[in-house]
C-alpha cells in the first residue's frame, strides 16, 4: 500500500516534459509502482491533449505537400500490432530504473562508510540521481536539502517521528524539511534519491559519511 505520492506540480512538469532527467527518472519509477499516480499522470496528459487541441496560430498551416509526403512514408507499413506487457511487479528495480542501473544483482555500490552505500546514476547535470543503501536499523545519512529532494523507497523502509516510507512511497523534501529518518530493522533500505543541488561529490561524500564514521 503506497501512502506517499507525487505532487501535482511534479506530475504536471513531467507530463509537460520540462523536468531535469534525474527527476523524470524518480517520477517514472514511482509511477511504475503506483497506479494511482499513473492515473493522475494520465489526467495531466489529458490536459496536454486539451492544450494541443487548442494550439493554433493564424499563420500556421502544413505545407501543401505534407499530407502526400506523409502518406508516402506510411503506405508501405501496417501499424505495429499490440503486444501484451508482462513486466514483473516485484523486481527490485522497476523498468525505468533498470536502464540506468543495469543488472540488479550487480549494482556497482560504493561505500559511504558505516555500511551505507551509494551508486550515482548517469543523468544530465541539473539534478543528481543516486541509489542509496542504508543498513537496516541505522540512521539515514544526515544531509541538508539544498533544494528539492525526492526519496523513493525500493526495498525495506525508513521512518521518522511522523511518517513511515515503504516500497513505492516517495518523500518530497525541500530546504524546510529537517528530520533524521531511520531505516527499519529487517531488510536493508534501498532508495532512489534525487536532488537538484549541484553535483558536489567532494563536499557531499564526507557529509554523507559523517554520521557513520562518528566524526
Amino acid at each position: 500500500m503506497i501512502n506517499h505520492h507525487l505532487s501535482d506540480k511534479l506530475l504536471m512538469a513531467y507530463s509537460a516534459g520540462s523536468l531535469p532527467e534525474a527527476f523524470n527518472l524518480a517520477v517514472a519509477t514511482h509511477i511504475a509502482l503506483c497506479d494511482e499516480c499513473r492515473a493522475r499522470l494520465a489526467s495531466f496528459d489529458a490536459l496536454g491533449g486539451v492544450i494541443l487541441e487548442e494550439a493554433s496560430a493564424p499563420d500556421v498551416s502544413m505545407e501543401s505537400s505534407a499530407l502526400s509526403a506523409t502518406l508516402e512514408r506510411v503506405k508501405t507499413g501496417k501499424p505495429t500490432p499490440r503486444a501484451r506487457q508482462t513486466a514483473p511487479q516485484d523486481a527490485l528495480l522497476p523498468a525505468p530504473l533498470r536502464d540506468y542501473v543495469g543488472d540488479p544483482s550487480h549494482i556497482r555500490w560504493r561505500s559511504l562508510g558505516g555500511g551505507a552505500k551509494q551508486m550515482i546514476l548517469a543523468t544530465t547535470e541539473q539534478a543528481t540521481a543516486r541509489l542509496l543503501l542504508i543498513p537496516a536499523g541505522t540512521k539515514v545519512p544526515d544531509h541538508s536539502h539544498g533544494g528539492l529532494e525526492l526519496t523513493l523507497v525500493l526495498q525495506g523502509a525508513f521512518a521518522d517521528e511522523h511518517d513511515r516510507f515503504g516500497r513505492g512511497d516517495i518523500e518530497i523534501a525541500d530546504e524546510s524539511t529537517h528530520h533524521q529518518p531511520i531505516a527499519e530493522p529487517g531488510e536493508d533500505c534501498i532508495c532512489l534519491a534525487v536532488t537538484d543541488a549541484p553535483l558536489r561529490f567532494r563536499g557531499l561524500l564526507p557529509r554523507l559519511a559523517q554520521p557513520f564514521l562518528g566524526i
Binding site: 505532487s7 501535482d8 506540480k9 511534479l10 504536471m12 512538469a13 507530463s15 509537460a16 516534459g17 520540462s18 531535469p20 532527467e21 527527476f23 523524470n24 527518472l25 517514472a28 509511477i31 511504475a32 497506479d35 494511482e36 499513473r38 492515473a39 493522475r40 494520465a42 489526467s43 496528459d45 489529458a46 490536459l47 496536454g48 491533449g49 486539451v50 492544450i51 494541443l52 487548442e54 494550439a55 493554433s56 496560430a57 500556421v60 502544413m62 505534407a66 499530407l67 506523409t70 502518406l71 512514408r73 506510411v74 507499413g77 501496417k78 501499424p79 505495429t80 499490440r82 503486444a83 501484451r84 506487457q85 522497476p94 523498468a95 525505468p96 543523468t123 544530465t124 541539473q126 528539492l148
Partner: protein
C-alpha cells in the same frame, strides 16, 4: 454507477463502442441541425477514436487524412509555441503523424482521447527535437493483441475528455495562460503552482477504473 463499472461484467468490443459512438454522434447531429445549435463537442472525441480505429484495423487512408488535416497543423502550432522554428516544426509534425499511423493499434481509448495520445507523441518528439532532458517512462500497460477495453469505459472516458476541454475553456484567462505556458515548456517545476486547482478529479477516476480492469485482465 456501481454496477456500470463492475469488473466481472463481460467485456464488449471496441468495435461495438465505435458503433455506439457513431449512433450517438448521428443522433446528436440530427438534434443539432434541428435546433440550429453549434455542434455538441461531446461527440468529437468519439469521432477521432472511430477514425484512428480504422487506421489500425484497415490502414484506411481516408481516415488517416481526416486525422492528419485536423491534428497535423495543431501539432505544428504546438511545436512552434514550444520554441521550434517553422521548418523544424513542419518536419516534426509529419514525423508525429507517421508515428500516429505506426502506433495506431497501441492507442487505448479507455485511458486517453486521441488528442491526448497525439499530445504525448508530440511532447516526446519535442524533447528529441530540442535536445531536452531525457524522459524515462514507466513501462506501458496494454491490452493483448486479441483483447479490447470495455465499451462503457471508452464512452465515458471520451465524454469526460470533452467535458475537461469545456471546463478548461471556462477557466479564468490568467489560469489558462499559465497552463499553456507549462505545456509549451515555458515553466520549470518550481514555477508551477503548488495547488493547480484543476478539474482533473473525475477524469482521473475514470482512468483509474480502466486501469484496474486492465490490471485485472493482466493478472
Amino acid at each position: 454507477m456501481g454496477d456500470m463499472f463492475d469488473i466481472a461484467r463481460p467485456s464488449h468490443t471496441a468495435r461495438q463502442a465505435v458503433e455506439a459512438a457513431d449512433k450517438i454522434f448521428a443522433e446528436r447531429e440530427t438534434k443539432r441541425r434541428g435546433k440550429r445549435q453549434p455542434a455538441v463537442s461531446a461527440a468529437n472525441g468519439l469521432e477521432w477514436v472511430t477514425l484512428l480505429r480504422k487506421v489500425a484495423d484497415a490502414q484506411d487512408t481516408d481516415a488517416f487524412t481526416a486525422l492528419f488535416e485536423h491534428f497535423a497543423p495543431r501539432v505544428k502550432a504546438f511545436l512552434i509555441k514550444s520554441g521550434a522554428d517553422h521548418a523544424m516544426a513542419e518536419e516534426c509534425a509529419q514525423d508525429v503523424m507517421v508515428t500516429v499511423w505506426k502506433k495506431a493499434a497501441q492507442f487505448d481509448p479507455s485511458r486517453a482521447s486521441v488528442a491526448t495520445w497525439i499530445f504525448t507523441i508530440a511532447r516526446n518528439r519535442r524533447i528529441d527535437m530540442l535536445r531536452r532532458d531525457r524522459r524515462p517512462e514507466p513501462e506501458d500497460l496494454s491490452w493483448g493483441p486479441d483483447e479490447e477495453p470495455d465499451q462503457l469505459d471508452i464512452l465515458s472516458l471520451q465524454q469526460e475528455s470533452d467535458q475537461l476541454a469545456a471546463a478548461i475553456a471556462q477557466l479564468p484567462h490568467k489560469q489558462r495562460v499559465m497552463i499553456e505556458r507549462a505545456y509549451f515548456g515555458d515553466l520549470t517545476h518550481s514555477e508551477i503552482a503548488d495547488e493547480t486547482g484543476l478539474p482533473l478529479g473525475t477524469i482521473k477516476s475514470r482512468i483509474r477504473l480502466a486501469l484496474e480492469r486492465l490490471r485485472h485482465s493482466l493478472s
